[in-house]
Amino acid sequence: MKGIPTVLITVSPEVSAQMRPPRALYPKGFKIGNSLGRPGMRDLQQQVLRDALALLNQNTRPGDTATREYPEYGEQYEPPRVKKL
């Protein structure tokens, strides 16, 4: 099987980083269940998806997560943290 280029949109960047996704976008402050924004915010959803797809062609470091801020999202949420054992 050939490899398949992927890009992850994550709202739990610490958690997803454990699996070292090749490309990832963290829309800062988005809550779980809002990977692309809130319901009906189509312009925001388009921007998040454009930014995620743009990572496919950018010279990212494999395994890194790119953080972007989207003030139009409104109230911000803290992402879940990985428990230290």
Binding site: G3, Q18, N34, S35, R38, P39, R42, R50, L56
Partner: protein
């Protein structure tokens, strides 16, 4: 839990985005109303996945998943499964088109090995052989 020691499975993307077909794979428990719901009664999780066609009506897509609050996805599935948003980007010429298959699965499991070695490979095979996707957007809940 520590960071995986497996190497990063990075596949270069050397195409023009505007000529590429894109697939969505979501762990958010998304499926069509007329497909079998994921089994949320099984405490070990459901290892299955559902194929979603590119012409799926987003109003017919629902979430069966009990490990995140999907109230917002119930109102607008695009917050976890951006199929209408992909169509917007296709209309704008940002992407070439939607892949022939998209995938929903329930990203909660106590059977990590079976998910990693079984389900994940099956999904990758479906995307590789059946979807004609040039790249995949992954989402969680």
């Amino acid at each position: 839990m520590t960071i995986s020691r497996k190497c990063v499975p990075f596949t270069p993307f050397d195409r023009e985005l505007s000529k590429s077909t894109i697939a969505i794979v979501t762990a958010g428990g998304v499926h069509l109303k007329d497909q079998e719901p994921f089994n949320i009664a099984d405490e070990l999780g459901d290892l299955g996945f559902r194929e979603i066609p590119p012409d799926a009506d987003s109003a017919q897509l629902i979430v069966t998943h009990h490990h995140y609050d999907h109230t917002d996805a119930d109102a607008d599935i695009n917050v976890v499964f951006p199929i209408d948003v992909l169509r917007d980007l296709q209309a704008e010429g940002v992407i070439g088109g939607l892949a022939k298959k998209h995938i929903g699965y329930m990203g909660y499991t106590m059977q990590l090995k079976a998910m990693y070695e079984g389900t994940a490979r099956e999904i990758a095979n479906e995307i590789d052989r059946g979807s004609r996707a040039d790249a995949v957007v992954l989402t969680g809940g």
